[in-house]
Structure formats: C-alpha cells, structure tokens
Symmetry: C2
Subunit: 204 residues, 2 copies
C-alpha cells in the first residue's frame, strides 16, 4: 500500500505502519472522536506510545493517514461493457466498504467532520473525491454507448447510488448485513436498477 | 410534543423534559457514544444529575426517548397532487433534518448502532420506520395517477432518495450547507428528478 506521506524520520516499516493505522480506525470506530487517544491506539496495537509518536506528531495526522490508506482502495474503475455492469461493480465495492469495520470507521470520521466539531476537513474532501472519480468513467462510457443522454447531470446520479448503498447498510439488521456480505449482488442490484432506469434516454 | 414513555414517577414537566432531551442529543452530537455521560448532559442543560435520574434510569433510556421525540417530527405526508411535489416535500424535510444539529445527532446514533458497539437497536428501527411510512403514501398516490407502474418496487426508490439527501449533506462544505439551509429546493430538486425519472412507466 503506497502512501504519499513521510513518517517523522525513522526507517519505514510498511507492515507496522499498516497495523497501527488499522488499530487507529478500529479505535475510532468503537469510541468516536470524543474518546479517541494516541494511548488507546497504542494499547490496541500492542505497542508503546513512542512507536506512534515516532511516526505521527498527533492524532489528527494519524487519522488523516489512516483514512487516506483506505480511500486508495476504493478506486474501482472497471469497464464491463454496460452501465449496469459498471455500476454494479462500483456499488458492490462500496457496499463491502460499508460492511467492513475499517470502511465504517472512515464513514464515521466523515460524519464527525460534517458535524464540524473536529477540524479535519481534508478527510471529507478526499473520500468524496475518490467516490466521484470512480463513478465518472462509468457515466462517460454509458453516454458513448447511447445508454444515457449526454446532458444528464452525473452528480445527482452519483449521490443517489452511493447514498442508496449507505442507507441500505444503515437500515439493515446485523443478520441482514451478514446476508449482504455473502450475496452483495442481490442487495445492490435493485439500487443499480433505479439509477440505470433514471439515466435511460427518453424516447421521442 | 407527546411521547409514549412514562417518566420514573414525578409530575411531568414537558418543557424541562424537552430541554433535557435536546441537551442529550447535542452532547451526543459533540462527543459520540464513547464519551457520553449523564453528568455531561446535566452540565450542558444546567441542571443537577438528580433531575436526569428522576426521569431516566440510565443513559440508554434517555437517548431512546430523545431520538423518539425527534423521529416524531419527521412524519411528513403531504398530498401535493404530483409525485415530484410529494417527494420534494419529503426530501426537503429530510435535508432540513440532516442540516440541524439535533437531526444530525440522531443520524450519528444510528451510525453508532450499526457499528454494533452499542446495544441500542430500537433506535435504528424507529428512525427507519418513520422514513418509510412517510414515503409509502407518495408512491401509492403516484401509482393511482399513472405516474408510476404498480409493479415498481418502492424500497430501492426510498433508499435512493433518502440516501441521496444524506450523501448530499455529507459531501458538502460548511458554506454549501449554509446555502442548502437557505435554498433547500435548489438542492433537493435534482435528487427528486432522479427518482421521478426512474419511476416513470416505460413506453411500450
């Protein structure tokens, strides 16, 4: 996993970096911002606090890197040859993201940032940008194939599809979320259909 | 604001009840579950802890009542005569809900419940039920008017519209959210269009 950030000046150990960032996201997922501390992350990872502080100056930096490392894995841009296929790949990746404790933690961080009680605005922009980039290609190809007219706005379709997957995850019980993990296609299929039907060109 | 719950045995004071529940939601919005305490709520409301404990046995009960009192205000079921009009009323109410610190707190509680680190499942069910009930009437009337075919599934449309409004709120900066507060119609319009286009009957 490549990251652009530079740790604070000790030789890189990518495995340990990733272990610490995972611990940070899980700690956040459990406690939220109000009770999130470097001490807690160190305890969860089974390392001393100094191992954290050698890499990250403070908890904001640690969270920023951790979210970035997850956002990178969300860049799905598959050309399956149809709008339904492309959006299914995207929606499935997003569903799996929300069903994963790590992915869920990044959502909670976004929620906390939106509430404006923390000063972590870059998180929000990075996650949103990653989602938009992943969808833009699918719509561009759909216009080229005539599945969608060129003057259809992308942004509301993107918000509807990603929002639907999020709401689907939110409104399901634990058992239903286990089912979604095993059969993601059954869960995203009807949500993708809403978007494909909405995007189809109107017959004159 | 009427509630079904019975306080623990002192004469009702609806204004104080509501003040305490508002303080609870704001405290939660700021700190999340990990740092939420009865003590903190009492301090925020400017009362002694005993005023809280006379009404609610523990913080779970307090949160449950607080969320319920907000969920009641979300039951919008307006018959405007068109699917676009009905969904615009609904989506606007939901947008305003998410833009309000109190509404945002109930969303965060749902998110925390979904992460399964708290034992507050009833929250989730109540909020979701309130949203679904509000949308079902709009779709039923649309089918009667021929704006939508009877065999179109409601659930994916509901998830798409509510999810879109949520995602729209999440992906906007503070300035953009202020704009949405002043001109909600401009923000929900394109999202409602996605759903209305998707629901329209296919020409044979």
């Amino acid at each position: 996993m490549s990251r652009q950030t530079t740790p604070l000046g000790r030789p890189r150990d990518p495995e340990l970096d990733e272990k610490l960032m995972t611990a940070a996201l899980l700690e956040y997922a459990q406690l939220g911002w109000g009770a999130f501390t470097m001490q807690g992350v160190a305890r969860r990872a089974g390392v001393g606090k100094s191992a954290l502080y050698l890499r990250w100056a403070n908890k904001e930096q640690l969270l920023l890197d951790s979210v970035e490392s997850v956002a990178l894995t969300l860049r799905v841009n598959v050309d399956t040859g149809s709008l339904t296929g492309d959006l299914t790949a995207l929606a499935t990746a997003l569903l799996e993201h929300f069903l994963d404790p790590i992915g869920w933690a990044t959502l909670r961080i976004t929620i906390d940032v939106t509430a404006d009680f923390t000063d972590l605005q870059p998180f929000q922009q990075r996650i949103v940008r990653s989602l938009r980039t992943a969808a833009a290609g699918a719509f561009t190809r759909a216009v080229e194939r005539g599945e969608m007219s060129a003057d259809t706005a992308h942004e509301p379709l993107i918000e509807s599809l990603f929002g639907a997957v999020l709401m689907h995850t939110l409104s399901r019980t634990q058992d239903e979320r286990d089912h979604a993990r095993a059969y993601p296609g059954e869960h995203v299929g009807p949500l993708v259909d809403v978007i494909v039907r909405s995007a189809r060109p109107t017959k004159k």
